[in-house]
Amino acid sequence: MSTEVESAQKAPTPEVLAEVEREHEEELVTAGDNLEALNRMRSQFFGPKGRITSLLRSVGQLPAEQRREAGARTNQLKQTLEAKLVVRINALESVEKEKELRRSRLDLTLPGRLAHPRGALHPVNRVIEEMVDILTRMGFELATGPEVELDWYNFEALNFPKDHPARDMQDTFFIASPDGKGTLEHVLRTHTSPVQTRELERRGAPLRIIAPGRVYRCDSDATHSPMFHQIEGLWVDEGVSMAHLKGVLTSFINALFGERGVRFRPSFFPFVEPGVEVDVGCVFCGGTGCRVCKHTGWMEILGAGMVHPKVLENCKVDPERYTGFAFGLGIDRVAMQRWGIDDLAHLFRSDVRFLSQL
């Protein structure tokens, strides 16, 4: 208190101001990072009764000719010294605030709160979507057909005559008549190929379709399910040759499995001629041979061929003008291979422990 009284009596001569500045410096050093001391200093120097405030007030007591200069001098010192102090105070205050924020740190190693569990598409449908995506980009259109099918579309029109051993290649479910007294000309489609005959008959040529879907065989064991999935492809136009079959299927298989080699072998399916079996380089051993591929380095992946002229005729398409190729492949096995699923039965059992893994 005594200093304030003293200084109030002193005029702000350069000597007095230099003295004040020196004291300010000293106190600043003493206060260091102590925010409290700095704030106290602020009121000691710049408060209503502070040293510098008093000096400014005493300017008025000076003779008129000295006031201006002394006022300017004092004011400048006030600005310089106060700015120095405030910078220090602000810096320390923001550090304090930051510390305060840090104290509210959360434990984010705790699990998050889910709006809902993770859903998942069935692996078979994921493969179907992928295949459809590739094939539609190649110019195929999606088509569907009934699963309860007439013998004509499933067999006869596809050049499987009645009483022909080719029918033994596919164990067939037959449909009982609604009164239960006999068997109808209806079957559960054994393959997706009847979509070929239906669409060819309905829309004629040219035609490019793919048809994924469920198919049924009267067969159930470790490697067979009475229901499984296939995708069918059909491309009929003028001037379509077996080279085109190879082109389309090679790009399809490469897109699906990566470029690991494709092999075309003669085979037999009644609705194509020539018939083709297509192998892809074994995805398990890369072609060097393993148990899965029976040491051949190849995995049988699809059946194909040039549409048999009789099939075209059966569907009222002129086989002299139009040719085409067809292919069909099993989807479930691709899904099993893709996710390393060892048992076909998992696919159709709806076990959450299985479905939520993939």
Binding site: L114, G119, L121, V148, P178, Y216, S241, R265, P274, V352
Partner: protein, 815 residues
């Protein structure tokens, strides 16, 4: 079919390729080799051992301790064979060997004495038994030599997957013929040296065909003075190598020739044929036959049989009868070699559930001109194996020659179809190599395709039943060169923009929507059992039934997706008892006959099934489980509908056997039912063994959703003026529905710029009069062109309050 490469090479001595090369060539030509078996593999680790010492076993009288020399070292082996003697050369299975019967040889201690290997009997090596005890090898055999070499076991056997169009390769001769073409060798020929006796066969037996359509050709021979007995070892071994059992020398001869030439044959005991004749006819209803497999069959009028003067003695092309079977006392044989029509054999075989080596071949198509050759071959072989005399001449019935099959092929058509240049020469060379014979173009007549002047014409040999049209010949040309000769090219570009089908689009959208809401997609077998259908109250009379189900579970095609989903809930409850939170869905078809439908296809409906039970949200440290209720499920469905742009759906109370009456609801849009949802009826849950929280299910028809899909929404200008919000709270009778409240409010403010109505509170209980409920709504008013004045908003609100009071008796408590 199992094929021996050694046998093939005996029939085609010019074939020098090794088995691996043969395998590759066959597979590349469409005769897929599915498995390869090396005879020697069955004897790995078994070598010739020389018995150096034999001493008694201290612990057992029947056992002996031997020292066996394997060419390098001596091993102590405990042996139980009675015939073991010093100096013998015997098969010695060393440690690590695996015998054909599956036995693995390891170090063992037998009654306290260590044994390092095993001395083998013939049986233990899978060979015909010769003597009791050890198999004794020739004295000069070198110890240490692999036993496979000593026994000449160097054959390589193929498991061939023969497609049903190629009966001609179901034999070793057929394979040899195919390989000759594939390796550009001279085609093999069947050669038979047959010495005939003096007596004319005609005097000993007669054959007669009564059904020439189903049996166009029948040939037979008579052998007298045979002696039926066991076959020699080479015959037994050969049959065994291709998976056949030895029966007797005569039967073995027919089987061996079947495996060699591919033509089914049968030997009758001529002495047991009444009237010494065979008649090929259809059976009469009521006739029976006892077959060689020991079964007795009732015959139908569609069964073709071989009969003697009195009774059927064989089911034609399928199996012989027990009553004419060759047995030990048989001395006279009637050998049959015939051509039966394929479909006829197949129908009978299917009817009687029989599948034999013979029926397998006849069903696929026999070789018309092999009939006589196979007959002579088997006659010669029987005389070789069983003695006797082949009597003079064949007994023949039916036509001798098949109508020649002439097929034309245009090289330019082959070029267009295969996609690489194929010239006349290639066509001719390839087809000639396969046994086709070039002929002059046939005279034009009805039925022959007009292929123009450039076509080449061929006579197809009788064994290639699969070659009937131009495209078949084109395939042969492509196949012979290999498909790797065909270039890989993309077809001419697209000519139109293709789109996905609408239903498939909808299916995919739904699948992704539900997976995004945390649901797991399932695929279930599309069948029901009757019991399931009954529990769910499905309309059984309209079920699509399988005529040949695999069992109870596959009796019906499914009529609803829900039973499988509920079963899945049950299964998951079993596997993880604590896991009752479950979100599942399936997209699939259901099947049913229309009311009174008698023709055409049953209805197939693509549906979405949803099952939800347990918590609304995954629980954790920060939130407790809140059970799913009807409004969660409804919210899910509203989300689905909004994704389809479907707005004004009515939610009507719905009674269904599988739904709880408190919540069963159906979705109706303009009179069309889109689906239904609600809590699974507790009765159903209980019958299926579900425990724990309620199960919520929904079922939507995908095509109805797709049809109801709203128009693409159009952009609306953003509102320029501020909204005014007012809340109303009122009591009303509890039976009034939310939709009535909203309808009353909307109707009362038709012209008053009411933008939205939202119910934000519904409450019953303390503070609310009995029989009433409290409801609170939030109203937002807004005009397009100006700011609404307070007075306008008040006015609109007043008319709403009045309408609620007049129409629903609502007492407004707060405004």
């Amino acid at each position: 079919m199992k094929a021996s490469t050694q046998w093939i090479k005996e029939l085609l001595p010019s074939l020098k390729a090794n088995p691996a090369a043969i395998e590759r060539r066959l597979t590349a030509a469409g005769l897929e080799v599915e498995g390869v078996e090396r005879e020697a593999d069955a004897f790995v680790g078994v070598v010739v051992g020389e018995v150096k010492e034999v001493s008694p076993h201290p612990g057992a009288d029947q056992l002996k301790i031997t020292k066996v020399y394997d060419g390098e070292n001596e091993h102590q082996v405990v042996c139980g064979a009675p015939n073991v003697e010093v100096g013998q050369k015997v098969p010695f299975a060393t440690l690590g060997a695996k015998l054909p019967n599956g036995m693995e040889i390891g170090r063992r201690t037998i009654r306290g004495v260590e044994s390092f290997g095993m001395l083998c009997s013939a049986e233990e090596l899978g060979l015909p038994k010769d003597v009791d005890g050890l198999m004794i090898l020739k004295a000069n055999t070198k110890p240490g030599k692999p036993i496979a070499e000593v026994l000449g076991k160097k054959d390589v056997l193929f498991e061939l997957s023969v497609t049903p169009n190629r009966p001609d390769v179901l034999s070793h001769f057929g394979l040899a013929r195919e390989l000759a073409a594939l390796f550009e060798l001279e085609a093999p020929q069947v050669s038979v040296k047959l010495k005939e006796g003096k007596k004319a066969a005609k005097q000993l037996a007669q054959v007669e065909i009564q059904d020439p359509l189903r049996c166009p050709k029948y040939a037979a021979r008579v052998i007298t003075g045979v002696k039926v007995g066991p076959s020699p070892d080479w015959v037994k071994a050969r049959l065994l190598s291709v998976g056949q059992r030895s029966i007797s020398n005569v039967v073995d001869a027919t089987n061996l020739v079947l495996m060699e030439l591919g033509h089914p044959l049968h030997a009758f005991d001529l002495g047991r044929l009444a009237g010494q004749k065979v008649v090929i006819r259809t059976a009469s209803v009521g006739e029976k036959i006892g077959l060689l497999d020991g079964t007795s069959r009732d015959l139908s009028a569609d069964d073709l049989v071989i009969a003697d003067a009195e009774k059927p003695v064989a089911l034609a092309g399928i199996m012989g009868g027990a009553n004419s079977e060759v047995h030990e006392g048989t001395t006279q044989l009637l050998l049959e070699s015939a051509y039966f029509e394929a479909a006829s054999v197949r129908r009978s075989a299917k009817r009687h559930g029989l599948h034999t080596e013979a029926s397998h071949r006849f069903e696929r198509g026999a070789d018309f001109s092999m009939v006589e050759q196979a007959l002579d071959r088997v006659a010669a072989l029987i005389v070789e194996l069983a003695g006797g005399q082949v009597e003079k001449g064949r007994l023949l019935a039916g036509q001798q020659e098949e109508k020649p099959k002439i097929v034309g092929v245009r090289p330019e058509r082959a070029t267009a179809l295969i996609g690489r240049p194929i010239g006349k020469k290639e066509v001719k060379d390839a087809l000639t190599a396969l046994g086709l014979v070039a002929v002059k173009p046939p005279a034009k007549k009805k039925g022959t395709p007009n292929l123009g002047k450039e076509a080449l014409w061929f006579r197809v040999p009788s064994h290639r039943v699969d070659l009937v049209a131009e495209v078949d010949l084109i395939e042969e040309v492509a196949r012979l060169a290999g498909y790797d000769q065909i270039p890989t090219a993309m077809p001419p570009g697209a000519r139109a923009v293709w789109t996905k089908g609408k239903e498939l689009n909808a299916e995919q959208a739904l699948r992704h929507h539900l997976a995004g809401e945390g649901f797991l997609e399932t695929i279930a077998l599309a069948f029901h059992s009757e019991a399931e259908a009954e529990v769910f109250g499905l309309e059984l009379p309209r079920a699509v039934r399988l005529a040949n189900p695999l069992g109870e579970e596959t009796r019906l095609m499914r009529m609803s997706l829900l039973p499988a989903l509920v079963k899945a809930a049950r299964l998951n409850q079993d596997h993880l008892p604590s896991l009752v939170d479950l979100r599942l869905f399936e997209l699939g078809r259901t099947f049913r006959w229309a009311e009174g439908q008698t023709a055409g296809l049953p209805e197939e409906s693509l549906r979405l099934g949803v099952l939800w039970r347990g918590a609304r949200q995954p629980t954790g440290w920060s939130n407790k489980a809140v059970g799913v209720d009807a409004y969660d499920l409804k919210g899910l469905l509203e989300g689905v509908l909004s994704a389809f742009g479907i707005g004004e759906v009515r939610y009507e109370a719905h009674e269904a056997p599988h739904l709880h009456p408190s919540s069963g609801t159906r979705l109706v849009l303009g009179g069309v039912v889109l689906g239904s949802f609600g809590q699974l009826h507790p009765r159903v849950a209980e019958r299926l063994g579900l425990e724990g929280p309620p199960v919520w299910v929904a079922d939507l028809e995908v095509s109805a959703l797709e049809k109801a899909r709203g128009a693409r929404p159009q952009f609306q200008p953003l509102a320029k003026f501020p909204p005014a919000q007012r809340d109303l709270s009122f009591f009303l009778d509890r039976h009034h529905l939310a939709e009535q409240v909203v309808a009353a409010i909307r109707a009362a403010s038709a012209n008053d710029a009411l933008e939205s109505v939202k119910i934000f509170d519904v409450y019953e209980g303390q503070g609310v009069p009995v029989g009433k409920k409290s409801m609170a709504v939030s109203l937002v008013f807004r005009a397009k062109e100006r700011t609404l004045t307070d007075a306008e908003v008040e006015g609109a609100q007043r008319s709403i309050v009045a309408a609620l009071k007049d129409q629903l008796g609502a007492e407004v408590r707060m405004a």
